[in-house]
C-alpha cells in the first residue's frame, strides 16, 4: 500500500460506522493501536457536535443522537478545517436526509427546527465581520438601514426557542414563527427576538441593503395588507427604537441615500 493509500484507508476506517479490528490489519501495526485513533477522532467529533446541539441531544437521547453523528461521519464526512463549523455541517446533513432519518429514528417534526435554532445560536456567537465596517450615520428613513453583522434570521415551523435545556418537546405544537438572533456587542451573549410577520419582512428587506428604509416599511406594510397609519407608525417607532437600543440595528448607510 502506498503511503497516500494508507492515509485514505485509515480515514475510511476511522469514519466508517463499523470497522472490525481485522480491517485495520493492512495498515501495518497492531489493530488495537489503530482503533485507538478511531476512538480519539470520533470522540472529538462527538464532543464538538454534542456541544453544538445540547438540547437536541437531551431530547433525542445520547445513544440515538450519536447514531445520527455516526451516519454523518460515514456518509457526508467533516470538511471544514475549523472544528467549530462541524455542527453546521451536521445540520446540513440532517436537512439533506431528514425524511429517511426522521422515519428510521422516529424523530418528531420539531427536531429539525431545534437543530436549526441551536446552530443559529452558535453561528451568531461566532459570526465574523469580514470586510470594512460600512460608514454608518444615525438612522434616517430616506437612507438604507444597516443591521449588525452578527445576526441570523430564522423562519421555523415550531417555537423551539422556548424549549429549556432539560425540557421535553413532545407536546410542542406547530406554530410558524420568525426569529432574529443577534450577538450583544458588549456581553457577546446571543439573544433571540420573536418577530411579527411585518417585522420579519422588514428584517429581510433591510438585510438586502438595497432599498431606503421608508420604502422598506411601505413594502412590509403592503405585504401584510396593513395601512401605514398613525398606529402603524407608532408601532414602527417603538420597534426601531428597541432595535437601535439592542444594537441589532446600527443606523443608516451614510453614502447610499435612495439607493
Amino acid at each position: 500500500m502506498s503511503w497516500i493509500g494508507y492515509q485514505k484507508s485509515l480515514c475510511d476506517l476511522i469514519l466508517a460506522e463499523d470497522a472490525p479490528a481485522a480491517d485495520f490489519a493492512n495498515l501495518g501495526h497492531e489493530p488495537s493501536r489503530w482503533k485507538a485513533y478511531r476512538r480519539m477522532v470520533r470522540s472529538r467529533f462527538y464532543e464538538t457536535i454534542d456541544h453544538g446541539f445540547e438540547r437536541l441531544k437531551n431530547i433525542v437521547g445520547s445513544e440515538r443522537f450519536h447514531l445520527l453523528v455516526d451516519r454523518f461521519l460515514a456518509i457526508e464526512r467533516p470538511r471544514s478545517i475549523y472544528l467549530r463549523d462541524i455542527p453546521g455541517e451536521f445540520l446540513q446533513f440532517l436537512e439533506r436526509h431528514w425524511e429517511p432519518i426522521s422515519r428510521e429514528h422516529g424523530l418528531a417534526a420539531y427536531v429539525l427546527d431545534l437543530a436549526r435554532y441551536e446552530w443559529a445560536e452558535l453561528e451568531t456567537a461566532y459570526a465574523y465581520e469580514e470586510g470594512p465596517t460600512p460608514d454608518v450615520v444615525p438612522l434616517e428613513m430616506h437612507r438604507v438601514a444597516v443591521l449588525a453583522p452578527a445576526h441570523r434570521l430564522l423562519d421555523l415551523e415550531y417555537p423551539v426557542h422556548r424549549l429549556g435545556t432539560d425540557q421535553e418537546g413532545g407536546a410542542l405544537g406547530r406554530e410558524p414563527i420568525s426569529l432574529c438572533l443577534y450577538r450583544d456587542s458588549k456581553t457577546h451573549d446571543v439573544e433571540t427576538l420573536e418577530l411579527t410577520p411585518v417585522a420579519a419582512r422588514l428584517f429581510v428587506l433591510i438585510e438586502q441593503q438595497t432599498t431606503a428604509l421608508d420604502q422598506v416599511v411601505r413594502s412590509a406594510a403592503d405585504a401584510a395588507r396593513l395601512p401605514v397609519d398613525l398606529a402603524f407608525i407608532e408601532a414602527l417607532s417603538v420597534l426601531l427604537a428597541d432595535l437601535l437600543e439592542r444594537g441589532v440595528l446600527l443606523g443608516s448607510l451614510a453614502d447610499r441615500p435612495n439607493a
Binding site: 500500500m1 485514505k8 485513533y37 477522532v41 478545517i81 475549523y82 457577546h188
Partner: protein, 275 residues
C-alpha cells in the same frame, strides 16, 4: 517582545484566570490560530487583551503537512494575515497528516518514517513558509501506530524534514516520552539524536498512563516527574535559551495548581537575558 521563558496555551476555560490572575512566570502565550481566525465575538476580544500583555506565538492544527491534498491557498492566505496581525515570530504545525480528499479529521495522524514522506513534508513546509512570509517550525507528534516498515527513526525523520525544508523544530518532550513508552525506545537517546540545533520552542504536557497497553498524550493531566526530568535533559543538550510551553487542553485543574506547574517549569528553563 521576545519569546523566552515559560508560556501557556490559550484555552477558553483559562482565559479569565490568565487575564485576571497571571502568575509572574507567565512570559508568553501560544494560540491555535484555527480557534481565532475568521471568528468574531468573545475570542478576538480575549486575544487582543492577551496580545497587549504578552508575545503571541501561533501553533497550527490543520495544515496537514504530510497530507496528499494540496495545501489550501485560502487557509494559508488567512493564516498569513492572522499571523501578521498577532506578530508571531514563527508559526508551527505538526509532522502528521489530518486532511484526506478534503475530509478534515481534526487529529494528528501518523506519517511513515520514510524518505519519501519526509521529502513530501519538507517541500510543503517550504511552500507554506513562502506564503506565510514567516519561518516555520515542525513538531514531533505522539504516534500510537506506525504504518508499514519504517526506513528511519523519528529523530532522523525530523532531522531530514528540517534540513530539507530549512525550518526549525518544535520539540515536544512529552510526545517523545509517550512514544518511548508505546514503542519501547530510550527517550533520552531519541532526544539526543534530534536536530537540537534547530529547536526554537519546546512543548510539555501531561499524559495518561493508566492503561498499561497504551500511554496517551491527553494534555489533560498534570506533568509527570519523568517529563520534567526529560525536559531538563533536553534543555541541557540544547544548551541555550529556548522557550517552553505548557499545554493543558482538558480536565482543567485549579488555577493555583496550573500556576504551580508553570513555576516549577520556570525553575528548569534557562533565563538568558537579551544583550
Amino acid at each position: 517582545m521576545a519569546v523566552r521563558g515559560v508560556g501557556l496555551g490559550l484555552r477558553w476555560a483559562l482565559i479569565d484566570d490568565i487575564l485576571q490572575r497571571p502568575p509572574p512566570e507567565l512570559a508568553w502565550i501560544e494560540i491555535a490560530p484555527e480557534n481565532f481566525m475568521r471568528r468574531g465575538g468573545r475570542f478576538p476580544a480575549a486575544l487582543a487583551a492577551c496580545a497587549a500583555r504578552w508575545p503571541i506565538v501561533t501553533h497550527g492544527l490543520t495544515m496537514s503537512l504530510g497530507g496528499g491534498d494540496p495545501l489550501s491557498p485560502e487557509y494559508l492566505r488567512t493564516l498569513a494575515e492572522f499571523a501578521h496581525d498577532v506578530g508571531t515570530p514563527w508559526h508551527s504545525d505538526h509532522l502528521c497528516f489530518g486532511i484526506v480528499d478534503g475530509v478534515a479529521m481534526h487529529d494528528l495522524l501518523p506519517l511513515p518514517f520514510t524518505e519519501e514522506a519526509a521529502d513530501h513534508v519538507a517541500a510543503r513546509v517550504r511552500q507554506a513558509q513562502d506564503v506565510l512570509g514567516l519561518p516555520m517550525a515542525v513538531e514531533n507528534i505522539s504516534y500510537y501506530a506506525h504504518p508499514g516498515q519504517a526506513e528511519m527513526d523519528e529523530s532522523d525523520f525530523a532531522a531530514r524534514v528540517v534540513e530539507k525544508a530549512g525550518c526549525s523544530l518544535l520539540l515536544d518532550v512529552n510526545n517523545v516520552y509517550v512514544n518511548s513508552k508505546n514503542h519501547g525506545f530510550d527517550a533520552r537517546a531519541m532526544i539526543a539524536k534530534m536536530p537540537l540545533d534547530r529547536v526554537v520552542q519546546i512543548h510539555v504536557a501531561g499524559h495518561d498512563d493508566s492503561d498499561p497497553e497504551l500511554v496517551v498524550d491527553t494534555h489533560a493531566e498534570p506533568l509527570k516527574n519523568e517529563v520534567y526530568d526529560l525536559l531538563a535533559f533536553a534543555l541541557s543538550k540544547i544548551g541555550r535559551d529556548v522557550p517552553v510551553l505548557l499545554e493543558r487542553d482538558d480536565n482543567f485543574p485549579d488555577w493555583a495548581d496550573l500556576c504551580a506547574e508553570l513555576a516549577r517549569l520556570d525553575t528548569i528553563v534557562p533565563h538568558e537575558h537579551a544583550p
